[in-house]
Amino acid sequence: MIAVRRSSISPLQLAALASAALVLSPLGYVTAMALSADAAIWHRLWTTRIPELLGNTVSLAGAVALLTLVLGVSTAWMVTRFEFPGRRLWEVGLVLPLAMPTYVLAYVYNYLLGFGGPVEHLWQMIAGPQARVISPQSFWGVTFVMALDTFPFVYLLTRSALLSFNVSFEEVARTCGASPLRRMFSVILPLLRPSIVAGLALVILYVVSDFGAVSLLRYQTLTYAVFQQMTGRSDNQAASILSVLLVILALLFLLTERWSRRKSRFYQTTGRVRAPQRMRCGWWHTAALTVCLAAVIGLSFGIPAYLLVIWSLSPEAQAILDARFFGFVRNSALLSILAATAGVLVGLPLAYLAGRKPTWINTACLQAAYAGYVLPGPVAALAVLVLFLNVLPFFYGTVIVLVVAYVLHFLPAGLQSLEPSIQQITPNLEEAARTLGLTVRDTWRRVTLPLIRNGVIVAWVLIFLQTMKELPATLLLRPVGFDTLAIRVWLEASEEYYQLAAPSALLIVLVGLPALVLLLSRDWRAAQEPS
């Protein structure tokens, strides 16, 4: 008979449980706070703010989703179905808007479309001196800015789906006598639906949890309201009620997406898949496609980036590039390094245990860590703030609080690259190492770690870059006088000092570009084009 040694809880297990607790306890505190709030507060909020905030948030999400649907799918179609000079360049260029945080794009458009701005001047020359352009601080203005910033999510997922689309479906529809229009609407679009919906879900989550754009464009959403309750009124209880609503809303969107995707894994046939051939374009087609793509990228990245460069080179901006500015750079870098390191240390045991020993407790810990996914920045900040005020008040106002909030907020991003990298190595490798005489510790050092190194690096870089541009949690939790680049952009832009905000904004955009490279290399590999 073989004796099975039942080990007691391992240190790894403890670490995972602690990580899960770290994520869940702030959430628990906020929920408890919301539920224990006086009925009068609930009533007041419910009769005054909530209907308007809910309406604003949902209608903004809907409008942005619709616009990104059109932009994302049509641009993906252009670069996957046509062959024309410069196609590869556009294919990569369409991702660039993701490097632009919403508050940067919002502040540029605040200037461009604003009262007395260049677009209004141009328009008045054409349409007469009384003509007005659509205000950036309106529903449609916010929709426009958010859609320009988020359509690459839809573009990326639709593009991958189109590249791996099995052309046999189209061909069989042709043998059944289907016209091009019918093929598009009854074959191609239904088959792309899971990918498009996944892209739209990302867009909606992004919009619902966005703080930067709505705060600069003064558009009242739930996320913005949470921030206002915490700062303007210092009413954490009202803020927690709004937060709970916000989380429920985000969860609803997420579950809807999961539900609509439940059959998607059946949507690709196994076996031989031939990708469709690209249509070669004449000069007329090429010109039309180039104009469309140039307009989209110009509006979402080209023109804003150009303005940031021009402003950064202005004398006003040059004057602030002093020791104080480099202090902000140092603060941003320090916070990002701390957050990324902490995030990887917290995420690694979670991902490893869930991958290697998928007991219900390990899986539950991992799922709990993904909760940050539905936590907008202000909510994460509120949750951490409440926790620290109640449990460890002496840490309040230190960098530690901030780092905990970042980890809570960005752990999902890190886990998304840690998890697959651990799942990719078969346990046989570790077992083989053990049969060759290595101890558990040696196996980790000499086999597991080298194999997951790339995943760990990617996770670290992703958290680093996300923290770099994080705004609301930093605004709410930073130690007094501890400004980062993102804070500077927001503060200067709020006062409409466009030139002064530019150097910090430009630096954030430039630092964000490597994140795109990581994102692309993963996505590009997932849907490798047949040569």
């Binding site: 046999s168 061909e171 043998t175 006598g177 088959l191 059946f266 196994t270």
Partner: protein
């Protein structure tokens, strides 16, 4: 292209050869990329209700022929006629959706977002609702899919998926049905059963069919006639029996079954080989070197202590024993014997040849050196 144009073009061609078949290819060449023809100068035609099999190794261009007929591949030169109408030429390609061809893809390409009934009804938009329902019911019955109407493709087995794909292609009453390696995704047992079923169904519906395969057993089981393709070029088009017994080229001989090539020389009007004389069916000149093709089922061995040929190897194949025999010259030939006659390796055997006909090839035509 207007109707007048089509008539004029068709009419011109009609002057020297009337179009009588359902499908005809005339000197068709296709190229995946210019300079490397995937098929060259392909000509054949198919009668109504016939099942034609395009047989060849992978990369021989058989799928390209199918795709050219469907209208997916433009032709570089030559013409394709469907029911007497010109559908493909170097200047014109009538779009697939106007050709009324049915196609079953290797991986079936069932629309995963549609139920079985909606998949089958996909090509029936031109019918009224009642007619459509009736047609779908009929196809479900013919294909043996009753009870699966509400299922999605992923809820079906491989064989059921194939039946749906077939029903979808046949529902619109296609002029010609194109099957691209339809049984290659099924396990061998299922493939055998589906072959029988499909064969019976096609015969019952009198559907003109072109089937692409690399498996000669499948071709033999299904086809009324077989076109053997090699490197983009048609080597032989004949009935299965003729393709097997009287192959036109050594390639065909080798591809449709096991064959040995026995070298010989013409002397006094006969082919002299190590195993005796054969008639000179090629009418080659005196002294020419030729090879005789012999199939294992035409060669019989019997143990004989004084014989010089030796059994070199035995492969048990269930219904037969395949013997490898080494002749005194070192030449290797194969013999197929009943599975009950077992001879040990090294047994000296006498060889008898029981061929009803002799197939001769020029030595230069051989695909590889014999032995």
């Amino acid at each position: 292209m207007t109707h007048a144009d089509a008539d004029r073009l068709g009419g011109q061609v009609n002057l020297y050869q009337p179009v009588s078949s359902i499908l005809e290819l005339r000197s068709v060449s296709c190229a995946y990329d210019p300079g490397r023809p995937a098929i060259r100068d392909m000509s054949f035609s198919i009668r109504e209700g016939e099942i034609l099999c395009l047989l060849g190794p992978s990369g021989c261009g058989k799928t390209t022929v199918l795709r050219a007929i469907a209208g997916f591949e433009p032709v570089q030169s030559g013409q394709i006629f469907l029911s007497g109408q010109l559908v493909s030429s170097s200047s014109e390609t009538i779009p697939t959706e106007q050709r009324r061809v049915g196609m079953v893809f290797q991986e079936y390409a069932l629309f995963p977002h549609l139920r079985v009934t909606d998949n089958i009804a996909f090509g029936l938009r031109h019918l009224s609702r009642d007619e459509r329902i009736r047609r779908v019911q009929e196809m479900l019955r013919l294909a043996g899919l009753e009870g699966l109407e509400r299922r999605y493709p992923h809820e079906l087995s491989g064989g059921q998926q194939q039946r749906v794909a077939l029903a979808r292609a046949l529902a619109q009453n296609p002029v010609v049905l194109l099957l691209d390696e339809p049984f290659s995704n099924l396990d061998p047992d299922m493939a055998g059963r589906m072959r029988e079923e499909v064969h019976a169904l096609l015969h019952r519906m009198k559907t003109t069919t072109i089937l692409v395969t690399h498996d000669h057993d499948e071709a033999f089981a299904m086809a009324d006639s077989i076109a053997v393709l090699n490197q983009g070029h048609l080597e032989q088009l004949d009935s299965p029996e003729l393709v097997y017994h009287v192959p036109a080229t050594p390639f065909v001989a080798d591809f449709v079954g096991q064959a040995d090539f026995l070298p010989g020389q013409i002397r006094q009007g006969l082919v002299h080989t190590e195993l005796g004389e054969f008639p000179n069916t090629l009418n080659s000149a005196e002294g020419t070197s030729v090879v005789v093709m012999i199939r294992p089922d035409d060669i019989h061995v019997a143990p004989n202590q004084s014989a010089e040929a030796r059994i070199a190897d035995r492969q048990f194949r269930g219904s037969e024993n395949l013997y490898t025999v080494r002749l005194p010259s070192g030449q290797i030939i194969h013999s197929s014997e009943s599975s009950t006659s077992v001879y040990q390796e090294g047994t000296p055997v006498e060889i008898r040849i029981l061929a009803t006909h002799t197939v001769l090839f020029d030595v230069s035509a051989l695909p590889r050196p014999p032995g």
